[in-house]
């Protein structure tokens, strides 16, 4: 599903953000991307989302080199990807329902199809009853779950999460990770960037460790 082929990324002044990162994530696989702040996790995710292009090497998703995409093609690629942020980034002037419906509206789903899909996504994160309230009235954990519902509502083949538990307490973090595990079991490829050791160690998934832009470790967790 995801192929990083000796990917390097240099910014102005030859500042090295990633150096010859090489890994492959199979369809339906879940992996953690870990490392300290500034190690290169965000750069890797930006490359994967097509927000930046690699200085050398190739980033391929489902066989497509992302460097070859631009404009409408790149937008179409992003519509097949679900993204969960540390800050759920919800629109406060929209209801929970409309926030979750955003990817569907952007992708051009018919208005008659949207309610069914939105309510299915909200029920997966146990927020069906909050559909018509403003996100302002929800707790931090609930807002994060709305963000997750928004990321999965269009049933993406690839889910990318950037510090999804960064603002949550351990109990809520565990709950969010359980949801990711369920999605993985449904066949979704998931890459979770996190620097929280407790989260990574609690689950038996593959760990990609990045340090100073280099992939220094790639292996399975202890539990299974």
């Amino acid at each position: 599903m995801i192929d990083f082929e000796y990917v390097s990324k240099f910014y102005e002044g030859d500042r090295e953000a990633l150096f010859e990162v090489n890994f492959r994530l199979a369809p339906g696989e879940m992996a953690f991307l870990t490392g300290h702040s500034g190690a290169g996790k965000s750069t890797l995710l930006r490359l994967l989302l097509g927000l930046e292009t690699a200085s050398s090497g190739a980033v391929r998703v489902a066989g497509t080199n992302l460097a070859d995409l631009s404009g409408e093609k790149l937008a179409r690629y992003r519509r097949r990807v679900g993204v969960v942020f540390q800050d759920p980034n919800l629109e406060e002037d929209l209801t929970v329902f409309d926030n979750v419906a955003l990817p569907l509206r952007i992708s051009g789903f018919s208005e008659s199809d949207i309610p069914r899909r939105v309510m299915a996504a909200l029920s997966r994160v146990d927020l069906s009853e909050q559909a018509l309230v403003s996100p302002k009235l929800l707790s931090g954990g609930q807002q994060q779950r709305v963000g997750i519902a928004r990321a999965i509502v269009h049933r993406p083949a690839l889910l990318i999460a950037d510090e999804p538990t960064g603002n949550l307490d351990p109990e809520l973090s565990a709950r969010v990770m359980r949801m990711f595990t369920q999605f993985q079991q449904l066949g979704v490829t998931i890459l979770v960037a996190t620097h929280e050791r407790a989260v990574v160690e609690s689950l038996p998934f593959r760990r990609l460790v990045i340090e100073r832009g280099r992939l220094i470790s790639d292996g399975l967790g202890s539990k299974r």
Binding site: L49, L51, G71, E72, A75, R76, Y77, R78, R79, R80, V81, V83, N89, E91, D93, L102, P103, R105, I106, S107, G108, S110, E111, R150
Partner: protein, 302 residues
Amino acid sequence: MNRWLSDHRWAIADALKRVRERPIQFLVLIGLLSILLAIPGWLAQIWLGMSSLVPEEAVHSEAIVFLSNEIEFEERIELERMLGESPIVEHVIFIPKSKALADLSSSDGLAPLTQLADDNPLPDALQLRFVFSPDSGVSELSLVERIEFDPRVLSLRYYPSTRIQYGSMLEVLAFFGAGFSMLTILGVLMTVFLVSAADVVDDSKRIKLYTLLGASSRYIQRPYLYRATFLGIFAGFQACLAVIGLNALLSEVIINNLEELDSRLGSIPLDTRILLGIVMVSVASSWIGAERAMNQRLKGIH
């Protein structure tokens, strides 16, 4: 088609929501843009109004052509014939230098000049009276220039009619009016550009989110462009109301003068083309201003 309708309906709803979120900004912008648009609209209205004013008793242009002293009789007759055949010359009258001297002598204090009759220093002259004939394709000025360079002619005095003077004034007014109008339209463009650019900066978080969710640039731009279109429509209509109001006010003030100038003119006619033009320019310049700003800023964000 369904997708297209759905996208546009969503964009219009989003644009209206933005208007509701910042009503004061929207109203102030409408006021500002309508003032900027009313200025060229009003100038155009004045210009068209003035163009339609044709005094009933407009004085005809005249020219006195002083003939060279060495000119032969036949040459003078040929010149008279050539001028008389011009479609814009009503008549040509020959004034011999003896008559000119007599006329001059009859003026106060110049009686002794008659003593110079044997050595008359004045040249013979032709008096031309022009006729207004816009369809002839010949202008008075071009004919006057041609005569001036004729070797049979010593010099020429041209007395343009009020119509010609008025026309020249209108040309100058149109030139400055067009320049000033361009500046104000540029002002509208710049205003909408700056406001839209500021909106993009304000909404950068939202725009980044939409980008990550797979929204195309067109999808992201659409609500902003619709808002700019609403702005253009409202500002255009308000500018039209301002022009109509100013026209009524001015008509009230100068109505008596107008009637004296031309009894057919009871008021300054309001040209609907101007009103239509104001609305079209308003919408187009607002849209272009917003589109340019969005394109530039989105490139930076993407």
